[in-house]
């Protein structure tokens, strides 16, 4: 499968404080990644590097293009970002303008903008609040505006920084199913979070620790590595914790990731 991001031999330090040394990472197209790790493990630094905000040494390729000063602007167009603190992010006076902002800047045709913005706002059930000030709607809806703004231009990479945890449950479900659709169509998602319950929606997990990849792989593979997970003290999703205990009691053989299958397996 094609890679969207290839990082090789990357080195980055804040003054004398080395964050990454000889760092290597590949992210595939059409995959949803959960990026987690303790505070200070390098998650935010890695995201800032991908966004071109921080300049490391080494080779970083985005969709086969080398990420250098001159290509940063072009590459940024292909990345949608959703931060948890949306209040600093909004620059427009209405929900509609906020969601359309990036596409307008990218020079899309007005008709295409109108079509896509209306479509995504309808999907998020926000057609009635298009003229409202995004600063004045409730926090969960603010988060949806931020998601809509990031996704509407159909970026190749969608970065979510602790933003899902702020959505109401129903809004969150809508975001997740839309992201799943986009991933199926080839987009790559990185959800930066320490809420491991949300990792269940992803394809792969990347756990960073002190600037290195501590564990990385498909969900099941990572969750099978009980010893390494426990060593880092990660709060595991309920269903994974349950799997580990049931494995210990020899009631199941492998980690099971959904509740219905777990019940069926236990009481077969």
């Amino acid at each position: 499968m094609d890679n969207l991001v290839n990082i090789e031999n990357m080195k980055f330090a804040y003054d004398n404080n080395v964050v990454f040394e000889n760092f290597k990472l590949s992210l595939k197209k059409g995959k949803w990644y959960t990026l987690c790790g303790p505070n200070g493990s390098g998650k935010t630094t890695l995201i800032k590097i991908l966004l071109g905000i921080l300049k490391p040494k080494g080779i970083i390729k985005f969709d086969s293009k080398l990420l250098v000063e001159s290509s940063t602007f072009e590459i940024r167009k292909d990345i949608g970002v959703v931060f948890s603190n949306v209040n600093n992010q909004f620059v427009q006076e209405t929900v509609y303008d906020e969601v359309a902002f990036k596409m307008v800047n990218m020079g899309f045709d007005k008709k295409v903008i109108d079509e896509r913005v209306s479509q995504i706002l309808k999907y998020f059930d926000m057609s009635k609040i298009v003229d409202e000030n995004p600063h004045k709607i409730n926090n969960s809806k603010k988060q949806l505006v931020a998601f809509a703004s990031a996704i509407v231009s159909e970026p190749k990479l969608i970065v979510i920084d602790e933003a899902l945890t702020k959505c109401d449950d129903q809004d969150k479900e809508k975001v997740i199913s839309l992201l799943n659709e986009l991933v199926k169509e080839g987009a790559t998602v990185i959800n930066v979070t320490n809420n491991m319950e949300d990792s269940i929606y992803s394809d792969e997990i990347i756990i960073l620790e002190k600037g290195s990849i501590y564990l990385m792989g498909p969900l099941k593979e990572v969750f099978e590595d009980e010893i390494k997970l426990n060593r880092l003290g990660i709060e595991l999703p309920f269903i994974v914790l349950l799997s580990h205990r049931m494995k210990f009691y020899e009631l199941i053989d492998d980690v099971i990731l959904d509740m219905k299958s777990m019940v069926d397996e236990l009481w077969q």
Binding site: N139, K166, D168, D169, N195, M262, V263, L266, W267
Partner: protein, 274 residues
């Protein structure tokens, strides 16, 4: 009662709030965005205006006509942890931040030193942190310092607004441990407003569900989380432990009973399956 809400209307809201908070109990305040969870906490410590009605806090009363003197009296009994702790920092060192309330309450210097050291120890930080600038701390450390600056004056009531946001797993586990100590050893009355339903489920005794400015469901956590009809109508998912027990009941017609600890649930499952 620690707190009584009597026909309280928050500015701009449609409905009146009526509920009681018992002394030394831990409460979860849950509800969707816009349900005024934060405003309820702010109202208890006098940061939000009461349009009508009264709030009784440990015998003192706050109403629309309350003045600074009334607020000061009430605030001595209350510690409020903001969602974003840096919003409550304004001093240059952690020491000054933690000691600020004590200076306001006219404590002696030696007493202040003692209380500050005790408070920082209680939240699990080394005394070395006292010289740090609070704005350079990680999210987890900042929450601990903010908590220390509350615990230092030993308030009877502690209010926490979305305390788990931004915390990594270690910091979240530390917070849970500290809340258990405050609850069991120090008998604090605690109210936690949060979307993190699994976290709430681990620590609270009672739950208040707020929807459209009113309490739509309240009671022990067992009663509230078992009432999935109302939770579903509002759009709130029950804790994972409860969802799992529900699936077992639905699919296999086995009643695992109510558990708030995953280890107990697992023992039940083991017993039934074996």
């Amino acid at each position: 009662m620690a707190i009584k809400f009597k026909d309280v209307k928050i500015k701009g809201s449609k409905n009146k709030l009526n509920f009681n908070i018992e002394i030394s109990k831990t409460y979860g305040l849950i509800g969707n965005s816009g349900s005024n969870k934060t405003k309820i906490l702010e109202l208890i410590c006098g940061l939000e205006i009461i349009e009508s009605g009264q709030v009784e806090i440990l015998g003192d009363t706050l109403s629309g006509g309350s003045n600074e003197k009334d607020f000061f009296k009430v605030r001595k009994n209350i510690g409020y942890l903001f969602e974003n702790p840096s919003e409550q920092f304004f001093q240059e060192t952690v020491y000054d931040e933690i000691s600020f309330a004590l200076k306001n309450f006219n404590y002696k210097k030696d007493d202040i030193d003692n209380h500050v050291k005790k408070a920082i120890k209680l939240v699990g930080l080394d005394e070395k942190y006292l010289d740090r600038n609070p704005f350079t701390l990680s999210c987890g450390e900042a929450k601990k310092v903010a908590l220390a600056s509350i615990l230092v004056y030993n308030p009877k009531i502690i209010l926490l607004d979305d305390p788990t946001i931004g915390l990594d797993f270690k910091a979240k586990a530390d917070l849970l441990k500290l809340l258990r100590v405050l609850k069991k050893r120090y008998n604090k009355t605690i109210i936690i407003a949060s979307k993190d339903i699994d976290f709430i489920h681990k620590i609270v005794d009672h739950v208040l569900v707020i929807d459209q400015d009113k309490v739509v469901l309240s009671g022990t956590k067992y009663n509230v989380f078992s009432n999935q009809k109302i939770l579903k109508r509002i759009g709130i998912n029950a804790p994972k432990l409860i969802l799992f027990s529900d699936i077992v009941k639905k699919e296999k017609n086995i009643n695992l009973g109510y558990r708030d600890d995953i280890n107990d649930l697992m023992k039940d499952v083991y017993r039934y399956v074996k």
